[in-house]
Structure formats: C-alpha cells, structure tokens
C-alpha cells in the first residue's frame, strides 16, 4: 500500500511508550507474557539508546511511559532513565515484581520523578505465590509494598488470575486492603507467550470465573471508593474480541530490549513482517512509514467476516497475534469472535476447562526461564 501525504496525516500519535528494557527476570512465572524465545534476541539497548528512544517518542506525542521487562530493576541505569523521562514530561510507570527494590533505589526514583510503581503479586498466600513464580519472594514483596507506602506512592497492585489462584480472589483482595492498595488490577491471564504454552493449566472454568466476579463485587460494595478494583475477564469467555492495543499502530508503541519496535508486546511472533529496530531508524519513520506498523493499521487489510462487519471500527477485528496463534493467519478475525469461522478453536479449549480440576493436561506446567526458552526456540 502506498501512503500519500493525506493518509499520513490521519495516523494518530502514539500516546503510550512501553519500554521492555530487559528480558532478564529473577522470577519464572508460568503466565509470563514475554516471548518464549527471548533468549534468542540480541543485546540490550544501551542507556543512551533508551534515552534517545524516550526523546523521540515524546516528540511524537507519547505521554505515558511504562518501564517494564522482564524485571526492569535488573538494570542499574534505571535511575538515569527515570530522571530523563520525567524531565521530558512523561508520566513514568514502573512495572515491577518488586525484586531488587530497596530503600536507596526507591529514594532515587522518587527524587528523579517516578510517578507510580505497579507491583505484581502472584497470589495472596506465600505458598502459591512462590510456587507460581518458582521463587521465594512473597516476604520480599510485602517489604516492597511497605516501602511504596513509605515513599508516598499510590499503591497499585496487579495480580494475574488463572485457574490455580482464582479461587483465592477473596484473600487476595483482603491482602490488598491490609496493604492499603488504592488500585487493584485482577487481570485474567492473556494467552500469549508462556501463558499460551501453559494454557490448559491456566484457563479457569466458567464457574470459577463467576464466583470470582461475585466475590469481587461484594468486596467493591463494601470498600466503595477507597479502592478501585478492576476485574479483567479472559477474552476466551467473551463473544467479541477486545480492541487490541486500541487498534494496531494507533496508540501503543512497544520497544523490546534489543531495540525492535512493535505495535504490541507480542507482535514479534507474526510471520512475514520485519519489525524495525530503533538502532537503524528513528521512531518517526518507524511509527508513520515502516511497512510493519502499517501492515494492520485501519481496516484495509481485513478479510471476511470482518471486512463487511458493522463492528469493524469498534474492535478492529481483535488481536492479530491471537488470530495467528489460533488460526495460522494474522489477517483472520480474532477467533474469540463468535462470527469467526474459527470460533470453535476457542470454544473447544473453553469446554475442556469445564472439566474437573484433576484432569491431567498433556504437558507439564512450564516455568519461564532461560533453559526452557532455549528449548522452545529450537
């Protein structure tokens, strides 16, 4: 597709820059959304490269910055990045497991202008938290939660829900209340990366979901405005897909640790696209002109049933990566949609999840880690 000037002008600004500054992580979460073959990727960007990326994205209009990973705290230049980003006018979000945060670092972040820390928890009980992330981290995280309060940050907790912990939603919310959390995100697992490999273990049953939502609603009614609780339903249970990344190349810009720029975290898996690297191109070209960022922009690339669907501007056909993972073609409708001819690939999995918990999945639970990554890369 040739782009002329007028079409170029209609491309919106990126508002959100997500910097996956490293794929290193001391945890081994079974639902990790990082690509399973992350050990294959090249060298991490140097400090100066990241600072340039922040400047270029800010000039394009990005105003939210997510510093994520992997575990961003494994980089010892994070303080420099925070300071620079804050000076540029970003609202700076640190998305962390908390491992590696100590008083010295949080003091430096505060002084450097970090706006918020989103702390992830795997569960409310130490046993399950440690099992699901394959480490002993619960005590450590509780300490970090206290530091966050002490430095007067809003307490934003993120708990990824799935079959193995969703029945603990009540305890999780109570834990959040004790910690003085202001925002709690109960995000059901999205099935990409490691979570896709472990999908059979992780997808909750309909009954589990309904119970969890009920518990959440009762809790909400009790605490009122003191705590905002978001409950994100797994899209496998919906009959319309989510508007993934708010539409490809409209809002969200992800830069991976090795400098590859992506319209969403997961897009690197899509075949036939060559995603540009910030080492070779500036972000303006990447965002506006690179073939990869234009590949699924708008609705021109769609096939049926999306092409003539009245809802196509509402969801842009859902998620390209999910379409590819489940149907083999990224230009198909997201099969979560009940209008998709491949919808059966979602419902079969969902039906299987209704079987009692003791059913034996074919493959063992796979923890995220370098060895497993190398194996999955072959």
């Amino acid at each position: 597709m040739e782009k002329d000037g007028s079409e170029l002008a209609s491309i919106s600004n990126p508002l959100w820059l997500n910097a996956e500054i490293t794929y290193k992580c001391p945890l081994h979460c079974v639902f990790c959304y990082n690509p399973v073959d992350y050990t294959r990727y090249g060298q991490e960007l140097a400090t100066e490269d990241w600072l340039r990326v922040f400047r270029e994205a800010r000039a394009l209009g990005a105003v939210q910055l997510g510093l994520s990973g992997g575990e961003p705290l494994t980089r010892d230049d994070l303080e420099i990045m925070v300071r620079e980003a804050s000076g540029l006018g970003y609202y700076v979000n640190l998305i962390t497991s908390g491992i590696g945060l100590n008083e010295k670092r949080i003091a430096a972040f505060k002084e450097g202008g970090l706006d918020q820390i989103q702390l992830s928890f795997q569960d409310s009980t130490r046993e399950l938290n440690d099992f699901l992330s394959s480490t002993r981290t619960f005590e450590l995280k509780s300490k970090v939660a206290r530091l966050i309060k002490q430095y007067d940050y809003p307490m934003v907790l993120n708990v990824v829900l799935h079959r193995l912990n969703i029945d603990h939603v009540g305890q999780i919310l109570e834990m959040a209340e004790v910690m003085g959390a202001e925002h709690v995100e109960l995000a059901n697992t999205q099935y990409y990366g490691w979570a896709f490999v472990n999908r059979e273990h992780l997808l909750p049953s309909r009954e589990q979901l309904e119970r969890a939502e009920e518990v959440t609603n009762t809790f909400r009614a009790r605490v009122g405005n003191a705590m905002k609780v978001y409950f994100v339903v797994p899209d496998y249970y919906a009959d319309r897909p989510k508007k993934c990344v708010n539409g490809w190349g409209t809002t969200f810009l992800n830069v991976a640790s090795d400098g590859v720029a992506l319209p969403c975290h997961e897009a690197r898996m899509l075949p036939g696209l060559s995603f540009p690297n910030v080492r070779d191109h500036d972000l303006r070209w990447i965002w506006h002109e690179s073939p990869a960022f234009n590949a699924y922009r708008g609705v021109g690339w769609m096939k049926q049933p999306c092409r003539s669907c009245p809802e196509r501007f509402k969801d842009f056909g859902g998620c390209r990566c999910q379409a590819y993972l489940l149907t083999g073609d990224a230009a198909n409708a997201d099969p979560v949609c009940s209008l998709s001819p491949h919808h059966g690939r979602v419902t079969t999995v969902v039906e299987k999840a209704q079987l009692p918990g003791e059913r034996v999945p074919v493959r063992p639970l796979l923890f995220r880690g370098d060895r497993n990554s190398r194996q999955l890369s072959q």
């Binding site: 600004n13 105003v63 939210q64 997510g66 609202y91 706006d115 918020q116 007067d152 202001e182 405005n225």
Partner: protein, 98 residues
C-alpha cells in the same frame, strides 16, 4: 451527563488526588489528566476548569475565576456539573479548610 456525581461543598479547597497529574500536551493540543497507566484528554472547557483545581481554589472560587476569564456566559451550572462528575470519578476531592 449520566455519570455518577458526587456533590462538593462550595467553599472547601479542591485538590487533585495525588496519583493524578494535569498537563498541557502540545502534540494533542489539549490538557491531559494522567494517572497510573491511563490518561484522559480534556478538551476545551474541561481543561479550563481542571487547570484551576490547584488545592487552593474552592468550587465558588473556580466558578468566579472562569466568569472573569469568559465574561458574558453563565457558566456556573456547567462547571458544577463537570466538577461533580470528576469528583464521582475520584479525580478530585475537597480538602480541609485552612
């Protein structure tokens, strides 16, 4: 507007909750309200109102100031409307009398 509203006392100072930040964005030509992992674009009047929420001015004060800045129109109802919705959303709150 059909959003839940929460009334505000007319004379108490109004402040942003600490996780919110308001700033002018040249690329979008509007004020934006930023908060953990999200933002709202405040176009036109909404931005004019929110930029007067400074932890000092009260509802009364904000209305009076806007009347001075935009004389001729009766803005009171719209301003109260907007601020009550913002209060309902948990962006702002009434502070203490000083």
């Amino acid at each position: 507007m059909s959003e839940p509203r929460l009334p505000l006392p007319p004379d108490a100072p109004i402040e942003l909750l600490r996780q919110f930040r308001l700033q002018w964005e040249p690329a979008q030509q509007c004020y934006v309200l930023l908060y953990p992992e999200g933002m709202v674009q405040l176009r036109g009047g909404a931005g004019e109102i929110m930029k007067r929420v400074d932890g000092q001015a009260s509802l009364h004060g904000i209305v009076a100031d806007l009347q001075r800045a935009f004389p001729g129109a009766d803005l009171r109802a719209d301003v109260v409307d907007f601020l009550e919705v913002a209060h309902g959303k948990g962006w702002i709150r009434a502070g203490q009398h000083q």
